[in-house]
Amino acid sequence: MERFSIVRLATLKETSARVAEGAGERVIRAGGIDLLDRMKEGLEAPTELVELQSIGGEEGTALRGASEKDGGWRLGALVTLGQIAAMTDLPKAYRALQVAAGEAATPGIRNAATLGGNLLQRPRCWYFRHQDMVCLKKGGDMCYAQTGDHRYHAILGAGPSWIVHPSSTASPLLALDASVEIWDGKASTRTVPIADLFALPTVDPEREHTLSPGEILLSVQLPAPVADQRSAYATAKEKQSQDWPLAEASVRLSMRGGKMSQVRVALGHVAPIPWRAKEAEAILEGKTPSADLFVEAAKAATSPAKPLAGNAYKVPLTHGLLRQALHEATGLAEA
């Protein structure tokens, strides 16, 4: 890594101003796992790491804490994946998030990696991660994945970049109707649906999120569970541990009177953003769970898919994972 300074400030305002003054040279650091990885790979050489961990007072408590209000939960951006996985008083209705947080990376990484950092980490694409490749994401003129080795790349919503969004907490949070709280860098915060945090490459191929310079992700807010809410998360990886998913499916639904309602389906690692599959939701909404119906919903979820030559396997893989998540969420044992 190139030389840099560590800057620890006590307030959000100072932290935000410090980074905004030196955009590109100064970066915010939370857990720092992906940041150090990018710096070690020579992708970035910031002169200052401006720490979130030093923020004190109520702001610090809010960043590091988890709290319940009116049945919903607020998870600070600095809460680690390990802490989320270990929480015992988080409602079972949010199970998809806890499972996803507990299966990401490794125990050692989960003890450092934060929720905010997980949502804002950069893509794992090997062309992007290669120091010598100036791809579209790094100001180049093409996405090498489109014609290159794209076995781990997007089948949905892709072009002009074929990255998949790297966050494993993003798809469960999308299914759980989460919002994110963002500090504007000056005096106020805004809360937006988590879907609005992410942007397709058609908006800006060099970024995956919509935060402006100086803005800081403060927390993730989970709404109070709907009546009889269940959620489930299913993933497939090449390795059991220390691997990024090939694909993920997250579902949230309410089971009342034997029927599913308020159904949300979100897919991960198949698109440049966590992918809401409304086609599947429409098929499931108001229906009695059955294996046949799940097959139909799974096919609908990937109906807009446009696989490349080397990643069409992700289509049936996603089918299987979504069916798995639906069986788990509904408790349906027939198959």
Partner: protein, 214 residues
């Protein structure tokens, strides 16, 4: 020495819930370390959460290493692993992947497993760091280390220090509880052994858990 900021009852309850099941050390990690209030210590050197600026030149960082005070003068870019191995001559934690993928550099920071290669040395100011060197006491191997020997839980040995630290962390966190094979596998899910000694490691940890702990 450690104090949490003001919190409402509700927050206290939920924070307690948040950390139930993880070690007390994890709670401390999330709180503000006020050790610099004595006025004899310098923020940043003794307290990674206190405001201040460090670098880019080398600066001192003080922490507890295996129960003893340690100090290193390192640049901000120095990883904890490099500070341990190069500056503090504590070479038990190994440098292998340098990307947090293999677990050979596993250490405990305030009782929690961490990859020393993905941690900056200055991050642990004021914290307690445990490496494999800290597991034995008075020249005698810990029950876990003895179990590794008895179960032939290593071949080339390069992953062993990281494995031992991950497993010691597990045994300390779960003292008094009955462990299953699954618990051990989950604890070493970040430690790669290319010799494939996993079954022997699991057996050794379960044996140590039943007998005397870490």
């Amino acid at each position: 020495m450690y104090a949490c900021g003001p919190m409402s009852d509700r927050t206290t309850l939920t924070r307690r819930g948040l950390f139930r099941g993880v070690s007390t050390a994890a709670i401390l990690t999330g709180c503000v370390n006020k050790s610099n209030e004595t006025g004899t210590q310098t923020p940043g050197v003794d307290d990674a959460s206190a405001p201040g600026e460090i670098g880019p030149d080398a600066a001192s960082v003080r922490f507890t290493l295996n129960g003893k005070p340690a100090e290193a003068k390192v640049e901000p870019r120095t990883t904890l692993l490099d500070a341990l191995r190069i500056d503090l001559h504590t070479t038990g934690a190994k440098l292998v992947c340098d990307r947090g993928s293999c677990g050979a550099c596993t250490v405990l920071v305030d009782g929690m497993q961490r990859n020393a290669c993905m941690t900056l040395a200055h991050d642990v100011a004021g914290r307690e760091v445990t490496t494999v060197e800290g597991l034995a006491s008075g020249g005698e191997l810990s029950a876990l280390q003895k179990a590794f020997v008895e179960h032939d839980a290593l071949q080339c040995g390069f992953c062993t220090s990281g494995m031992l630290v991950s497993c010691a962390g597990l045994l300390r966190r779960t003292k008094g509880q009955t462990l299953t094979e699954r618990d051990v596998k989950a604890a070493i899910a970040g430690n790669i052994c290319r010799c494939g000694t996993y079954p022997h490691i699991v057996a050794a940890v379960l044996d140590a858990a039943e007998s005397k702990g870490a």
